[in-house]
């Protein structure tokens, strides 16, 4: 457990010391949004929803990809001697989750400022955004581990990730669309389903990562 925390702390420290990558990510999100802002003026609620999640997806790929790809081969070997693979992957996943929560909050803010605010139940929507950002980062975190082991770039990660993530994104979009109209109540089973999927991803990552790890 303390291993996990120290690994997360190490990643956060690295992030703070090399802030260019975080700002790069921020700029990526802002630039994407500005393009959308230029392309569409005040979209309807469902288009807003769709655009928001697609943007989240792309931000997530870029945010998570570097978590593994930044680690050089030598450094991976170093971690290998120090840690159990389970604590390593858990630390990476949770660190990605934290990063993605921050990015979700920022991009939601940008969206509200630039694209108008069609959201009716704001509190619930923010919760869904965090849940969604976290779910996306979990799946892509593990796929980034695969891509990094295969010595591939983020494009391969996107190829592997999009089909796998579709069901989750569909569920998320359906869920969040309920936050736009005052009449529809929020379906609790869908939230539980998403949480169950998250738990499943973590479980799979813990089981499968040791196989990826050893060379």
């Amino acid at each position: 457990m303390s291993h996990i925390f120290s690994l997360i702390k190490k990643d956060l420290l690295l992030e703070l010391r090399q802030q260019y990558s975080f700002y790069g990510l921020l700029l990526y999100g802002a630039a994407t949004l500005f393009l959308l802002f230029m392309a569409i003026e005040s979209p309807e609620a469902n288009i807003w929803n769709g655009l928001f999640w697609i943007t989240q997806l792309f931000i997530c790929i870029n945010a998570v990809a570097k978590a593994f790809l930044q680690e050089s081969r030598g450094r991976m070997l170093y971690y290998f001697t120090l840690n159990h693979p389970t604590s390593f992957i858990l630390a990476k996943l949770f660190y990605n989750g934290i990063l993605m929560l921050a990015m979700s909050a920022i991009s939601l803010l940008f969206f509200l400022v630039l694209m108008g605010n069609p959201v009716d139940k704001m509190g619930a929507f923010v919760g869904m955004v965090f849940l969604g950002g976290f779910s996306l980062s979990l799946v892509f975190g593990f796929l980034a581990a695969i891509a990094a082991r295969a010595q591939q770039n983020a494009a391969v990660m996107a190829i592997m990730g999009f089909p796998v993530i579709i069901p989750q994104v569909v569920l998320l979009m359906r869920l969040s669309s309920t936050a736009f109209s005052p009449l529809v109540s929020i379906p609790i089973p869908t939230i539980l389903l998403l949480l169950a999927l998250d738990a499943l991803v973590i479980l799979l990552a813990v089981i499968l990562f040791p196989f990826l790890w050893k060379d």
């Binding site: 695969i146 082991r149 796998v164 069901p167 799979l204 990826l212």
Partner: protein
Amino acid sequence: MTILLLAYTFIAGLLGPVPRLPPLQETIRNLYFHVCMWFAMMILFMISLVHSIRYLSTLQPKLDRAARLYAGTGILFGLLGYGTGAIWASFTWADPNIPLLDSFSTIARDPKLIGAAVALLVYAAYMILRDSINDIDKRARISAVYNIFAFVLLFPAIWILPRVLPSLHPGNEGNPALDVENDISADMRIVFYPAVVGWTLLGIWITQLKIRLQVLAGKKFGL
């Protein structure tokens, strides 16, 4: 092994033609082909999954080869399923007043079609991932991990999503579930179950042939 394979051949050969003789009305005959294709696809993907899991626990290269080839045959059956489904849909779902291509985007929104598309995309990605890695051991291990990960995430989603989203499937009877027991009569069931087994065995047979071909090719080049 060869005897086993020949047994497969005979079973598949004998059961394969059975679906072609049903004495029932017109488009419903497609059930024996279309639905069986999907069943065969799912079963082949599952076999591929089992091989991947066994590969990770034993690290025998032949299991990895089997996993890859079963996935390949699964993709083939998936594409055939789309083909037969498209023919079926063009007679039942498509609006005759609109050209088929225009009504495609509404048909393709059906959750089962989405699920099938996702499954095919996943396995296409699996193939690309495999081919992108040069080191044989690494390729085997990484693609086995992806195979398991994708399958486990994908198939619950395929089975859950159609129950969450509204569906047109099976559509023409207006009965929204893949409930084989209720949808089809006893007469059809007699043909349907053997047909599923037959198509699945055909898929397994094709794959076994491909595996043997690869083994022979490997031997020829002294591997």
